[in-house]
């Protein structure tokens, strides 16, 4: 069975090649079958390999497959090889599982789009790149997948390329990611320079021997890798591309910009956990950036009116949570949240897509309202996802978020401030999510009469994935229940063998006995209570007493303007980075290129021309001139030989 590992990424690639090369020549049902079928087969294979991996003894749960040597140059050799271990098994299940559901959803969502075949070709290419990223057995192949998903992200954000805003957003995503990728590459150079290999198992085994723990070298390497992660996973300071990426079709936002690609940074850090535990300073930076991003993005989410933008800032905020978990060395908690987030955030985006679909492409929540009775399935599933993301006990988001909060508080790398920021973010999350629900599904129907006339529940191909994801959002957290519930945390145990230092916080918490357990209950209770209060506030302001909202907004108009304008970060970046770059480019173009370089080249040519122009007059054509010069030459030569 394990020899079929390579088929998991290969099948979507084949799907891409067929749909991509025969663009628009195939009838739609064939495109659908190829695109969804290839991902479905990958999903089936992933499940089978997961079962096989599970049947292996705990310490040897690794399936490796080296396909062919790729680069071999001196000491440097890289293979195209795949590695299936508990971590990548979780990732491929999420990628193929959520990916398949979103493929199915897209069949309904994109049904009337002229670019149907192109869309599915891109989606398959994305699935291939993402699976390569998570299955690679070395950093370089991972980087190929990393760039591949970046490319697909660019292509799919700008899918409706005739829209200027969409193509601009695609470019922005690509350019911002370049900055991060630069850091990633530097990190890889440092690792290769010191370890001499890019294979994960070699690097992880050698790193403690090669790098001094806490040394400047490993800290730099880890910070550079993290810079790559901030680009791909939309963290401060490189998060600005993700909200703009909402210009893409909604299934793309769900698949790439919520469930899978943006979590690549978290996966990369979890994969490199053995490196990061050697650099406590880097971990601290990650935790701080993660916590700040979580809070910062959540506050922006409070004031956005575009339904997809609220979700986009929510994604940035939840990714901040995952990085907070990684930063306190609770890598498995980060991956756990990655998984549950993939379920409920994909569901939220797909639900939002269903709403947008029903509203004839209206995205402004101020023009919605009262959709509950028109879109019952969408409402129910989105409500489940909202409860999950808010962290209502029993739903998947509760377990993962609670674990992160507890680790932020209790881990050796944690701090009570991280916990406070995390809980505050949880409260804000609950508030903006219920605001979204109340504005969209409750209250007066604020849409135009024509839009109202077209209101309809989405087709089966869209609602069935919603329902499946709703079930996953509901129960997905049960695999990782906290110890204080008196059950085994299967998820943490499953990831244990691949995570550096995974056992320490656990044993630390268990060893300290009852005191910690009651503390954990207390903290959990506090966060749930805060979430409940925030939900009530959202209910009060956006359902019960809308007048209070307006008067509050007037009182806090300064703050509101700041939030609506997203803290003017885009403007600041524009002034500090984009405009100087543009000016500098214009300087390079007009001064350096046109005047200096072109001037040099043309000047050389003109100099040669001018000299020749002067000298050619010596070619008078008169025989006597030539004879005179010849005679003079003879005289000079004779004089030289006689007197010289």
């Amino acid at each position: 069975m394990s020899e079929y590992l390579f088929l998991i990424p290969l099948l979507p690639l084949i799907g891409f090649l067929i749909n991509g090369l025969l663009l628009g020549r195939l009838p739609r049902p064939v495109i659908t079958i190829i695109a969804c079928g290839s991902v479905a087969l990958s999903l089936i294979l992933s499940v089978m390999l997961f079962v096989e991996l599970k049947s292996l003894p705990v310490d040897s749960r690794v399936i490796e497959q080296t396909l062919l040597p790729w680069i071999s140059s001196g000491d440097f050799s890289v293979n195209i090889g795949f590695l299936l271990d508990p971590l990548s098994a979780v990732m491929i299940l999420v990628v193929t599982g959520v990916g398949f559901l979103i493929h199915v959803y897209s069949v309904g969502y994109m049904a009337h789009d002229p670019g149907y075949g192109r869309f599915f070709a891109y989606l398959n290419l994305f699935t291939f790149a993402m699976l390569t990223l998570v299955l690679a057995d070395n950093y370089l192949l991972m980087f190929v997948g990393w760039e591949g998903v970046g490319l697909c992200s660019y292509l799919l954000i700008g899918f409706w390329y005739h829209k200027k805003s969409a193509s601009d957003a695609g470019k922005k995503a690509f350019i911002v990611n370049r900055i991060g990728d630069f850091g990633f590459l530097i990190g890889l150079f440092i690792i290769f320079w010191n370890v001499g290999s890019l294979e994960f198992d070699v690097v992880m085994k050698q790193a403690p021997l090669v790098f001094a723990a806490g040394g400047a070298l490993i800290t730099t390497a880890c910070l550079m890798l993290f810079l790559g992660a901030t680009g791909k996973s939309a963290q401060i300071p490189l998060y600005v591309w993700l909200p703009d990426a909402m210009e893409g079709p909604t299934p793309v936002s769900a698949l790439i910009h919520a469930a899978t690609m943006v979590t690549a940074g978290v996966y990369m850090i979890a994969r490199s956990s053995s490196l990061f535990v050697l650099a406590p300073d880097a971990l601290m930076v990650i935790a701080i950036i993660g916590a700040c991003t979580a809070l910062f993005a959540a506050t922006i989410g409070l004031a956005q009116n575009d339904i997809k933008r609220v979700l986009a800032y929510s994604t940035v905020s939840q990714l901040g949570y995952m990085f907070l978990a990684c930063g306190v060395a609770a890598f498995s908690a980060g991956i756990f949240h990655l998984m549950t987030h993939a379920f409920f955030k994909a569901l939220l985006f797909l639900g939002a897509g269903s709403v947008i679909h029903a509203m004839s492409d209206e995205q402004d929540m101020r023009n919605m309202g009262g959709l509950k009775k028109h879109l019952p399935i969408t409402f129910m599933t989105m409500f489940v996802a909202t409860l999950a993301i808010s962290g209502i006990p029993g739903f998947s988001g509760f377990f993962s978020k609670d674990e992160i909060l507890w680790k932020a508080f209790s881990s050796d790398h944690g701090h009570v401030i991280f916990w406070v920021i995390g809980v505050a973010t949880a409260g804000l999350t609950a508030f903006y999510m219920f605001r979204l629900i109340y504005l969209t599904f409750y209250g007066n129907e604020r849409m135009s009469d024509e839009a109202k006339h077209h209101l309809h529940e989405s087709p089966k191909s869209m609602t069935v994935p919603l329902m499946v994801l709703a079930v996953l959002s509901l129960v997905g957290g049960l695999v990782g229940m906290p110890h204080i519930f008196g059950v085994t945390n299967y998820f943490e145990e499953w990831l244990g063998p691949v995570m550096a230092g995974a056992h320490e916080p656990v044993s630390h918490a268990l060893a300290s006995g009852g005191g910690d357990a009651s503390m954990e209950w207390l903290l959990m209770g506090l966060s749930v209570a805060l979430v409940a209060v925030c939900i009530f506030l959202a209910y009060y302001f956006y359902r019960k007493n809308l007048k209070a909202t307006t008067s509050l907004a007037e009182k806090l108009s300064g703050l509101r303007t700041l939030l609506v304008n997203k803290y003017y970060v885009d403007e600041v970046y524009g002034a500090l980075v984009v405009r100087p770059t543009v000016y500098f480019s214009v300087f390079l173009w007009k001064i350096i290129d046109v005047i200096v370089i072109d001037g040099c080249i043309n000047g050389m040519a003109r100099l040669g021309g001018d000299i020749s122009d002067t000298l050619r007059h010596s070619q008078s054509g008169r025989l006597r001139n030539y004879a005179t010069i010849f005679a003079a030459g003879v005289v000079v030569l004779v004089a030289y030989f006689v007197f010289g």
Binding site: Q619, G621, R622, L623, R624, A627, A631
Partner: protein, 100 residues
Amino acid sequence: MVPVSAYLILAVVLFGIGAIGVLTSRNMIVLFMCIELMLNAANLAMVAFSRALNVVDGHVIVFLVLTVAAAEAAVGLAMIITIFRNRETINIDRYSILKW
């Protein structure tokens, strides 16, 4: 016996007249004759040396030069006549189209 230096002085004078003629003359026939004069100045010098040193090499070279001069005269005159037929002048300064 006339010393070698006398022959050489004569040769230099002849050669100088020829060279000045080549450089100053506009008439192609005169110019041509001046070239012959320079060749013969050289011949004279060589014969003088040959005689003074009592070797025959100089004589041999002189015969060679005479032969070449004869051939050159034939070809050169033919060219002058051809050019004259075309341009109706033997002023060398007017033959300056091969320039710049």
